[in-house]
Symmetry: C2
Subunit: 344 residues, 2 copies
C-alpha cells in the first residue's frame, strides 16, 4: 500500500537551506519536491494536515548545543503537527487515524513512531476534541503552561503573578491558570490590542504594553507588594524589570527567552541577578519533556477549563503549504494573534 502511494504522489518539503544569522528569513528555507518515500518495517506514513509553530523552533535552526539536536542543513524543517495515517507497518497506528507528534515541513512524513523516545512521543488525537484545541490550549504550549505554572511557579491564592508573552500560546494559558487558582495576574504583551484581549477575554487584573509603557514603573504600580511568581517567556528588559520587583521567596519559571532567539550575538543577561539573593528567589528552567507523567491530568483539567470558558484562547490559522516559512516568521514580528497554526 505504501508503495502505491509513493508511486502516485510527490512530496513537497521545505528544507533548512542555511543557518540564519540573526533574524530568520524566508530565504533560509528551500522548497523541493521528492517522491513520497516507501515505508519499511515498523514505519508509518502520514499525510501532514496541520502544522504548529513555536518560538523554540528558531533555536533548532542554530548549531549551538540545546535540548534537541539542530535540524540538519538540507533536511526538512522539524515541527510539531497533526498527520493522518496513510499507510502503516506498525500495529499501533491504523490508516485514517490522526496523530499528534513531531512532524516536519512536508506534505508526507514517515517514521518509526512507536520507537520515538518519551517527550517526542506520537499519540492519537481524541476524535471528540476540536483540532484547534488539540494544537492550542491542549497542545504542547498549553501543557507546558500548566506544568510550568503549577509545578514550577507554584502560585498560592492571593499571590501576585506576572507572565511575559502573556498573549502568546503558552503565556495566555499560564496567566489564566494563575487567575483560576486565585492569584492577581499581570500580563506583559506587545500592543494595545493584545493588552485589551488580556483584560477583556483572559480577564487578567492588569496588562502592561511593553511597546508603549515602561515595564518597571508599571510593575511598581500594579505589583506594589512585589511579584511572587513570574512565568518568563521573553527575557531581556522584562526579566530585568521583574527582578527589580520580586517579592520575598519569588519563583521564576523560565520557559523561554524569545527576545534573544534571533540575535546573531547572544545579548547580555540581566544586571540585577543579585536581587535573587536579596529576595531569596529562584529561577528554574523547564521543558515539558520532564513532566510527561503529568500530561494526562493536565490535558483533562485544561480541557475542562476550556469547555467551561475559564480559559480563553485564540488560534491564528494560516492556510497552504507554500506559506509555511512566512507563517513561522509571524511569531517573531508579533503578527500572530494567538497560537500560530497552518492547515495544509
Amino acid at each position: 500500500m505504501a508503495a502505491e502511494v509513493g508511486a502516485a504522489r510527490r512530496n513537497r518539503q521545505w528544507l533548512l537551506a542555511r543557518r540564519p544569522v540573526g533574524m530568520v528569513s524566508e530565504s533560509d528555507f528551500e522548497l523541493v519536491e521528492r517522491p513520497v518515500p516507501e515505508i519499511g518495517p515498523g514505519e508509518v506514513l502520514g499525510r501532514v494536515r496541520w502544522l504548529s509553530f513555536e518560538p523554540a523552533m528558531r533555536g533548532w535552526m542554530d548549531e549551538r548545543p540545546s535540548y534537541v539536536a539542530p535540524v540538519e542543513l538540507g533536511a526538512p524543517m522539524r515541527a510539531p503537527g497533526l498527520a493522518e495515517v496513510v499507510a502503516s507497518n506498525d500495529p499501533a497506528y491504523a490508516p485514517g487515524e490522526v496523530v499528534f507528534g513531531m512532524m516536519s515541513w512536508s506534505e508526507y512524513v514517515t517514521g518509526r513512531w512507536s520507537a520515538e523516545t518519551v517527550g517526542r512521543g506520537y499519540r492519537q488525537v481524541p476524535a471528540d476534541v476540536p483540532t484547534e484545541q488539540v494544537l492550542g490550549p491542549l497542545g504542547s504550549t498549553g501543557l507546558t503552561a500548566y506544568v510550568g505554572m503549577l509545578d514550577v511557579g507554584r502560585p498560592e491564592p492571593g499571590n501576585t503573578v506576572v507572565v511575559s508573552g502573556a498573549a502568546g500560546a503558552t503565556g495566555s494559558v499560564a496567566a489564566q491558570i494563575a487567575r483560576i487558582k486565585g492569584c492577581r495576574v499581570v500580563g506583559i504583551a506587545g500592543g494595545a490590542e493584545k493588552c485589551r484581549w488580556l483584560l477583556d477575554e483572559a480577564r487578567l487584573d492588569a496588562a502592561i504594553d511593553y511597546k508603549s509603557e515602561d515595564i518597571g514603573s508599571r510593575l511598581r504600580q500594579t505589583c506594589p507588594d512585589g511579584v511572587d511568581v513570574y512565568f518568563e517567556n521573553v527575557g531581556g528588559a522584562a526579566l530585568e524589570a521583574v527582578l527589580d520587583n520580586l517579592a520575598h521567596g519569588a519563583r521564576i519559571a523560565l520557559c523561554g527567552l524569545i527576545s534573544g532567539y534571533n540575535d546573531a550575538e547572544a545579548q547580555p543577561g540581566p544586571r540585577n541577578l543579585f536581587q535573587l539573593i536579596v529576595q531569596r528567589a529562584s529561577i528554574q528552567g523547564l521543558l515539558l519533556w520532564d513532566f510527561v507523567h503529568r500530561i494526562p491530568e493536565a490535558f483533562a483539567e485544561l480541557r475542562r477549563w476550556v469547555e467551561a470558558g475559564e480559559i480563553a484562547y485564540r488560534v491564528d490559522v494560516q492556510e497552504g503549504f507554500e506559506h509555511i516559512p512566512r507563517t513561522f516568521l509571524r511569531l517573531f514580528s508579533g503578527a500572530n494573534e494567538g497560537k500560530q497554526l497552518l492547515r495544509l
Copy 2:
C-alpha cells in the same frame, strides 16, 4: 556601672563618610572619637574584641535596596564581630561574657541585643571553641556554606561540584563539605598560591586559577560530564562559564556576586541563561537568615569536621583599630588569605 565606663573612656569609631562610587577606598570612612554612651533599659554595652569582614558588607554601603537597610551616612560602619559584655541592663547578658553578633567599627557598642530580630541575633560564644574558629569556619560564613551547599545545592555522592571564590571563607567550607559528601569538587580561585591550598590543604579534585587560566576550557577538562552543583560567590565570567557546562538538572546556589560589588554601574549578566532551560537547571538565591533553625546542627557538625581535620581553614588576622578600613579593602584586592579578621 555603664555610667562609670562612659565617663572613663572614649569610644573611637570609623564612620561611613560617603557612599563609594565604584571601588571602596579608605577615604570613604572617617575616624572620630566620642564618649562611650550610657546604656538605657534593656541595653548592653560591649567592648569590641574582634571584627569580621565579608564582601557583602560592601553592599551595605550603597543606597540601593538590598536585604538590609544601608548603613546611614555618618553612622559607624556595621560589621559582625565579637564583643565582651562590659555593662548590661539585660539579664540575658552578663558582664564578662563574649557575644557574637552584628557590631560596628567601634571600640564600644550598645544595643538591645535581646530585641534584635532573628538572623541578626546575638549569642554567647562557647568558651571551649577557639575564637578563630568561631569567626571562621563556625561563623556566619561557614554556616552559610553549610546550608547553601547542603540545603540549596543538595549534592549527591558522585556529583561534580564547582565552587567559585573557593579559597574564601565561605567557598572553602562549601567546597570541603561537598568533598566530605563524596563529590568530585573543582574550586575556582585567583592565583597559584590559593590554588595550591585548594589542592593540598582543602584536598579538592581540581583547582582553576581564573587569573591565569580560561575558566571555560578548564571546566570542560575537569567536568566532562557537566556541573551538577555550582556554589556561586563571584558572578561575572565564572557564572557564564559554568552555565555553559551544566549537567542536566543542575542546581546553582547563589550566595554572592562579589565581582560586581564595587562596580559603579551594574554590569550585564550572563548571556547564556537559556542554558537553564536546556539543562532544566535552577538558580536559588540564599541568605543564612532563612536557615536559623539549621544553625545548631550546622555548628555542631562543622565543629566535628574542623576538629577531625576534615575541614581545613585559614584565617587572616590583622591587628589594631586604626587598620580597620584597609583590612576591609583586602577582600576586594584578593590580598586576604582565608577569612579576614581583625583583633582590637
